[in-house]
Symmetry: C2
Subunit: 443 residues, 2 copies
């Protein structure tokens, strides 16, 4: 087939399962560089498109262990760029609690250090607790956060265009260091930011680092349709996933982009056994070690409501959407309704996969499922979350990836060298080069 599946690995240091860190073979990886290097190199050996680091700018005490502590993602990406040569490196940075100049600069730097392998997962901040770490009275409301994010990403792109290709001349003989005609001042003045530029680093090898996004609210979808190049979906049900993907493709088209300019990557947590029974036993083992309070906190975070207020053994209540993580809330509520889950069942389900789709079975069954979703158009690819590290992540690469390659669904080797090339995304031309317009330095 002419589409190629895209595969990434989401690395939560403690594993995606709330009790993953307690497994006998688990290593705790949030601040464990050798472990992360090992897993990322394994993912690269499997020719995966990217590894991905979630983030938060607060410590979720008493919640998921993987959300309590971790390396700062931009410095981690730079370090991992030195330990790898082909795989894409994606970090999450919130547009709510940082400055566009600093973040545009850091991503440009990582794209240079990695020779074109950086991706930026743009989030608007998933926890209202973060505000207290940034001298703010409150987390901005949903609508405002997205308005900020849109302006912020536009500024970042403008800054990445500061140095048009060829701006850095470096002619020793003539003493010409730069060509001012190819340097551009942004002079952005908007509702949330004023950023003059130019940026003090040349244009990233990829033009722009690849923009990832995960918002699934209507507002988030508008943003993703206009801006995102990879969208993470927490879809649980195949036909809903297909509808979601098509809605996103429509939005991209409406924004003047190609339908395949946005790759929809569904989060999946595979639990693989030699038999389906064995896989189920692993899930049961994980469940037996689960801290139920922590699990309920994870679910509460995902739904945006304190779920301790509701009876455990009754159906999951209908709740109004909160301003937080609407995508996860919609998906979890939907699967609870479909499968007529009690709150206890939904709690345990979310504990395993941090709100993503759980896939329990043999490597063959997992490959079948991924193939089915991919062929149906419900997903352009998958972001693999492991219940713990490194075993399950390595098992996915060793046992599932070769099956996908055999079936002609996934590459047997890299054909490009940048993350954009892995994803089949075009390198954005510099706007001045594209239009012929000049936007010189003012000085």
């Amino acid at each position: 087939m002419d589409r190629t599946m895209h595969l990434g690995m989401i690395l939560l240091g403690a594993g995606s399962h709330v009790a993953g860190w307690r497994m006998p073979d688990a290593q705790f990886g949030s601040q464990n560089l050798p472990l992360l290097q090992r897993v990322v190199q394994k993912a690269e050996a499997g020719k995966l498109d990217f590894v991905f680091f979630a983030d938060a700018v607060n410590t979720g005490l008493d919640a998921h262990p993987g959300m309590m502590l971790r390396f700062e993602p931009l410095t981690l990406l730079a370090a991992l760029a030195m330990s790898t040569s082909r795989i894409g490196l994606v970090a999450t940075v919130s547009t709510t609690y940082s400055e566009p100049y600093n973040i545009a600069r850091a991503f440009a730097s990582i794209d240079h250090l990695s020779q074109g392998r950086a991706g930026w997962n743009v989030v608007t901040g998933s926890s209202p607790d973060a505000a207290a770490n940034f001298s703010r009275d409150k987390h901005p409301p949903h609508e405002e956060r997205y308005a900020i994010a849109e302006e912020y990403v536009a500024i970042a792109k403008g800054l990445w265009d500061s140095w048009q290709e060829g701006a850095l001349v470096g002619d020793k003989e003539k003493g010409v260091f730069v060509d001012p005609a190819k340097m551009h001042v942004l002079d952005h003045v908007g509702p949330h930011f004023s950023v003059k530029g130019p940026l003090n680093i040349t244009r990233p090898p990829q033009g722009y680092p690849v923009i990832f996004q995960a918002g699934a609210s209507d507002r988030g979808l508008d943003f993703a349709g206009a801006t995102a190049e990879v969208v993470f979906a927490a879809q649980q049900i195949q036909e809903e996933a297909l509808a979601f993907a098509n809605k996103l493709r429509d939005k991209a088209e409406a924004a003047g982009r190609a339908r395949d300019a946005v790759k929809v990557v569904c989060g999946v947590s595979p639990v693989i056994g030699r038999t389906e029974e064995e896989a189920k036993e692993i899930v049961a083992e994980l469940a037996s070690m689960m801290d139920t309070q922590a699990a309920m906190r994870v679910l509460s975070d995902r739904l945006g409501h304190d779920m301790n207020a509701f009876p455990l053994d009754e159906p999951v209540p209908d709740l109004p959407p909160s301003g937080m993580m609407q995508g996860h809330a919609i998906q979890l509520t939907s699967i609870a309704r479909r499968k007529k889950m009690t709150l206890r069942q939904l709690r345990d389900y979310a504990a395993v996969s941090s709100g993503h789709r759980l896939l329990v079975g043999t490597a063959e069954q997992v490959a079948d499922d991924l193939e089915d979703w991919f062929r149906s158009g419900a997903a352009d690819g998958f972001a693999i979350m492991s219940t713990h590290l490194p075993g399950p992540a390595e098992r996915f690469v060793d046992e599932v990836v070769p099956r996908l390659v055999e079936r002609g669904l996934f590459r047997s080797d890299y054909t490009g060298s940048t993350l954009r090339e892995h994803l089949g995304l075009p390198r954005p031309a510099h706007p001045a080069a594209a239009t012929g317009r000049t936007m010189h330095i003012s000085g």
Copy 2:
């Protein structure tokens, strides 16, 4: 002798000389990772204490080529941590245009990634042009910038103390992930920042990354005396350097610290030849390629006044101090007065060394000078700036360092593994461990 000299290398990608990049053997290094790796590994082979990256959050157009573009320093440090194993890695980050939570976190991350080799050069922002990149009407005045910096560094230290040693338990059997009694919430509320904490990364291996500072104004000296562990001095005259160092030691003592708790490191730009004549010829060669407008812009930046307004061939005028770079301004004005320089002469002098002390001669003469300054107490060590890269930096390591080792002034091998150990600085104990007081999480 019982004092050991400290040596670091300041890496300005285009070289410290405004025309350094034009030398036949110069490689342009601001965004040249292989070149930086090569020079840093050479510095490590010479057992230097640290390499150091200056920074600015704006592009100084038409000024020093080395100030126009470069890697973002935190991501660069993380990358270099992977290419080295012993040498300290110091980056400059302004407290004026960033959030303490983000920066404390990034430095903690680098300290973990490098296993205790991170240093933070705290600056308050050297160019007023930066304000326009950060949605600000103007660069805050000198006094306010330092008040912000003091509060900012105190917050960073508080955040680094979030996870007391032993807070991360990870007992799989008992299911105990953290010991809440060893986790600490900062709850900082101050005039410029409110930061709750805790930080989402454990205490850095060094306790706190080493704090560098370069301010030389009275306000800057107070801050350095109370807080800095290494102070860069741009001193040009030995007796003034000694007075400066003693003043700083007095301030440290007044702040309740040991006199040697602050290491004074003087910036030096050595130009080494096989003979003194050859060294002078190199300086002349550099001068012949100099862009005089760029050189005047460098001097104007250093003095905080547009020097184009004054006649070139008359004595350097007396100027009131500006709010910018007071240390450099004082030093350059002082040497101009002493040596009765014209503005043209001062321009050319500052062009060579970016305002630091220029040392022209044989390796033996350079070693003599460094020994003299060190033995007199005028300096605890030196930060070496190279006119261009990589030749002069490598020559310093190959020819001057062995002479300092022979004379018993400098180490022949590392005796410690962290930057603190190289510098002979104690690892700060956690305040709760030190005092027995508890400052538990509130939740």
